[in-house]
């Protein structure tokens, strides 16, 4: 028998709901997706797998179906959502303005952190006990530094392959952590702004020199820099891994600390943190006490490159003779739509040549803890990235985000390429330093 389905009946053959609807997944952002597929080829995981389930449109469809109770939110659903890098390239590609990040975050809130039961437990522990308490983080990193210097590292060779690879991802812990000499550091020259700086969780420990460089560059540009003591980790990893309760507490702490500091802008030199902080207003929606404060705070947040390019660089820049290529960090290009400003700043450095690579805004596979949870996909993307970088012939790659820097250093090591990896603030600082040295020599 044939049923004619006229205009009065929908030609639906959807699988029947077999489970309860999941209200946490029935979010309005889903409605904006019109299933056009224009995002598919911009998605790194679709490019590798060519599977609809590993594409933005597919993941949105999965969330919709799970919300309707048509598929389970169990292991398989979680696998598809967790293979997503949260790079948000799909948001850039989507003409319909779908906020994919919010859809994925809602899904991760339902499924919890990725990985095996053990790694989930470890991740939970880290998200709730480590990132919110930076004192503990310092202790842990000190232990790691001791381990790396003690010769114990040789022992790592006997570890199982998976652990050995994770061990290789660990960067050397620098001898000194970043500790600002005061909470408020004066501007050099005429004061143009009073800005707050996010010190971050990992940044002062693993990339202390970059925070120091950022402070110097800001001060040289007439900024009085406040590094409020009350601040903490931004909570990005918590948000991305479905640990919103801890994330909210961390957000409130930063909002309080920076609003009390009375700054014109909150400067962030880690793209992932910036993207999260610019969305505190969304994270804390529905919290009456913080709705307004969070909106005010988010409006103040600026990536260091965004802020400096808009302010306009001042002071003499000396030459940095180097050819570089620029990697757009996902959470800067896609998450914050900041693309032109870092390039403007690079162009301002005398002696420096920028050679663009192919698909500079495609994820390098770092993606927070992704390189640990999904080493295979991560390495596939990294190797592709290193090939693109290699093709430019540049001596160095600039990637203003700590996660990308770690990943690209690991990539350079894997590819046995001598490519150096810099933060943009590093190079600006070098340029200012070069000018100062020149001036010093001229005086001498």
């Amino acid at each position: 028998m044939e049923t004619s389905v006229s205009s009065m009946h929908l030609p639906l053959q959807r699988t029947e709901p077999h489970g309860p609807v999941v209200p946490g997944l029935q979010i309005p952002e889903l409605d904006q997706c019109v299933h056009c597929g224009l995002c598919l080829t911009q998605c790194p995981t679709y490019r590798v797998t060519r599977l609809e389930t590993e594409s933005p449109r597919g993941r949105i469809h999965l969330v919709r179906a799970a919300g309707e109770g048509r598929i389970s939110t169990g292991e398989r659903f979680a696998e598809h959502l967790n293979l997503c890098l949260m790079c948000r390239a799909c948001e850039t590609a989507c003409p319909s303005g779908v906020k994919y990040g919010r859809i994925a975050e809602a899904a991760r809130e339902v499924i919890g952190p990725p990985g095996s039961a053990l790694s989930r437990a470890v991740a939970r522990l880290a998200f709730t006990q480590l990132f919110p308490r930076l004192g503990r983080m310092r202790v842990l990193l000190r232990l790691l530094r001791f381990y790396q210097r003690s010769g114990l590292r040789a022992v790592a060779r006997v570890l199982p392959r998976r652990l050995r690879e994770m061990e290789a991802l660990l960067p050397p812990v620098p001898a000194r952590f970043f500790t600002p000499e005061a909470e408020v550091l004066p501007a050099i020259g005429t004061r143009r702004a009073r800005v707050g700086l996010l010190n971050g969780c990992i940044m002062p420990l693993l990339f202390g020199d970059i925070n120091a460089a950022t402070v110097r560059v800001l001060r040289r540009n007439g900024c009085e820099v406040v590094i409020p003591k009350g601040q903490g980790c931004c909570g990005a990893l918590n948000v991305h891994n479905g640990e919103t309760t801890a994330a909210k507490a961390m957000a409130k702490r930063n909002i309080d600390a920076f609003l009390a500091a009375g700054v014109d802008a909150v400067i962030v030199n880690a793209a992932g943190c910036g993207a999260t902080m610019k969305e505190y207003d969304h994270l804390l929606r529905g919290d009456p006490e913080y709705t307004e404060k969070a909106a005010r705070f988010s409006a103040l947040c600026r990536d260091a490159s965004e802020f400096l390019a808009d302010l306009g660089l001042t002071g003499p820049l000396g030459p940095v003779d180097m050819t570089v290529t620029y990697q757009d960090p996902c959470h800067l290009a896609h998450g914050q739509k900041v693309r032109a400003q870092p390039r403007q700043l690079l162009a301002a450095i005398p002696g420096l040549t920028l050679i663009e690579m192919e698909a500079s805004d495609r994820c390098c596979g770092s993606a927070g803890i992704y390189n640990v949870t999904h080493p295979e996909m991560s390495r596939t993307l990294l190797d592709e990235k290193m090939t693109s970088i290699g093709r430019t012939g540049a001596e160095a790659v600039v990637a203003p985000n700590p996660g990308c820097m770690l990943q690209l250093r690991y990539g350079a090591q894997r590819a046995k390429a001598g490519t150096a990896v810099y933060h943009l603030m590093d190079l600006l600082d070098q340029a200012y330093q070069a000018a100062e040295d020149d001036a010093g020599r001229a005086r001498a």
Partner: protein, 487 residues
């Protein structure tokens, strides 16, 4: 005949293509229940992602032995529901077969697997100063196989012709599982034009596993004009008169006020959000010839009170304007949770008249209709914006859509310009063809696919039961119940 049970079929499929490429769990299948046609869904029972033609052959033979329908799918950007498995069955997703096998710059042709993304072919041939001409709005994602399946068009097909004009030959797997070659690089091959038959066959005659296409030499120069009008009518008149004057631009696209609002929000291409309509007109050729040609076009436009005539000043500006046009459909999600994008053709002289009718239909039904389309070809895409959760809404939308297509046919046009028939328009085929015409087509289908397992429920309307009058009013889509696949 004892049909193979599902477990055996799945086990055999895994042997053929490898376990990771056979999907059977609901959390893997559900995403294949829909393409870019927003008003229908049906889930496949099994999804297979083959890696080579030989695998496709074996999979199809197995499916036939099991009595299971086979539905080919590329990127799933089709707008007629062509890849929706209305009768369930096995879906062959060809996205893994995405190698460009050969680019022969001297003979100006390329040999590709069906899953190659349209734009990747143009990018690869650009090194030799060549390009692949058919450029559907979905070219950044849609596959050459899917383009052939629907005989896709695109803005520049006004001058270059649609997909079918660029396909030289194909390797195709028949419903028996045999592999066959059709067409040849020769201009006039002897025998039946089977390649011509397979283009636009929407996966109902065979599954294409390799395609030889023509490449063109990039033009020496290109100029792009943005002409802004206060009304759709002024823009439509301009299109009719440009064509009547014997000018053939490479592209002549229209975007109306509704769509422009969404496009501008998405792309920031510099479209005037408050104008009635814009035309995007492009000409290509020798550097010296272009200014004169542009002047002639501008002279026609000026007779219709243009607000602005602006040429793109840089490659970047041109690219942005095109991005706005091509991704326009996707941008409509900003205006409403769903849309029904229609695809009709009218003689270009009738454009102003039919556009007025479309507007009248929108008013009668109290619907918002946006327009972005290949005006130079007379290929309309009236797009009805709606919220499917509003009670009774879908009925109104379908009704209005039918009236629009009827207006196209009444004006001497057709029910599809480039998106194909799929499940969407198979009943409307009766408006254009007599039962005898349709019977002839069914015999072609039977010759290729005697068991009727290749993409069932698409393209052709079912045989009318004796005595029944062609009720062309109500049955818009039809879906078979999925009884007894493996019972």
């Amino acid at each position: 005949m004892k049909v193979m049970d599902r477990r055996t079929l799945v086990a055999r499929l895994r042997e053929v293509v490898g376990a990771p490429h056979v999907l059977t769990r609901p959390e893997d299948l559900v995403v294949y229940e829909q393409d870019a046609f927003l008003v229908a869904h049906a889930s496949p029972d099994i999804v297979v992602l083959p890696g080579a033609a030989a695998e496709v052959g074996t999979v199809i033979a197995l499916a036939r032995a099991a009595g299971v329908p086979v539905i080919a799918r590329g990127a799933g950007t089709g707008l007629n529901g062509g890849s929706i498995p209305v009768a369930g069955g096995l879906m062959l997703v060809l996205t893994r077969m995405n190698r460009i096998l050969e680019i022969d710059a001297r003979s100006r042709l390329a040999v590709v697997e069906p899953g190659v993304v349209n734009i990747d072919l143009s990018a690869a041939s650009a090194r030799d100063g060549l390009f692949y001409a058919p450029d559907p709005g979905s070219q950044g994602v849609s596959t050459i196989g899917g383009n052939v399946g629907n005989n896709a068009g695109g803005p520049h097909c006004l001058a270059y012709g649609v997909t079918g004009n660029h396909v030289l030959g194909m390797e195709v797997v028949l419903s028996s599982g045999e592999i066959m070659t059709v067409g040849s690089p020769a201009v006039d091959a002897p025998g039946y034009d089977l390649a011509g038959l397979l283009v636009g066959s929407e996966g109902t005659l065979g599954v294409i596993t390799r395609i030889t296409v023509r490449l063109l030499r990039q033009a020496e120069a290109v100029r792009t004009l943005l002409a802004v009008f206060e009304t759709i009518d002024d823009a439509s008149q301009t299109v009719s008169e440009v064509i009547a004057a014997g000018i053939v631009p490479t592209a002549m696209e229209m975007i109306d006020a509704v769509v422009m609002r969404a496009v501008e929000a998405a792309i920031h291409a510099g479209y005037p959000a408050d104008a009635g309509a814009v035309l995007l007109i492009e000409v290509e050729g020798h550097v010296q010839a272009l200014p004169g040609l542009m002047e002639r076009i501008a002279a026609v436009a000026k007779r219709h009170r243009p607000r602005v005539l602006r040429q793109a000043n840089s490659a970047r500006e041109r690219e942005l304007l095109w991005k706005g046009r091509k991704e326009g459909a996707g941008a409509l999600g900003r205006l409403a949770p769903s849309y029904y994008l229609h695809d009709g053709v009218v003689p270009r002289t009738k454009l102003p008249e039919v556009m007025a009718k479309v507007a009248a239909i929108a008013r009668t039904h109290g619907l918002v209709i946006g327009n972005l389309f290949h005006a130079g070809d007379g290929n309309l895409h009236p797009t009805i914006l709606f919220d499917p959760r509003q009670p009774g809404m879908l009925a109104r939308v379908v009704q209005a859509g039918e009236e629009i297509l009827r207006a196209c046919v009444a004006a001497g046009g057709s029910i599809t310009g480039e998106h194909g028939v799929g499940i969407e328009k198979r009943e409307y085929m009766r408006w254009l063809f007599t039962e005898a015409d349709l019977q002839a087509m069914r015999r072609v289908k039977d010759a290729f696919d005697p068991t009727g397992l290749l993409n069932p429920g698409k393209l052709l309307p079912d045989v009318m039961s004796s005595g029944a009058q062609a009720d062309v009013k109500s049955p818009a889509f039809s879906v078979r119940p999925r009884a007894g696949l493996w019972s």
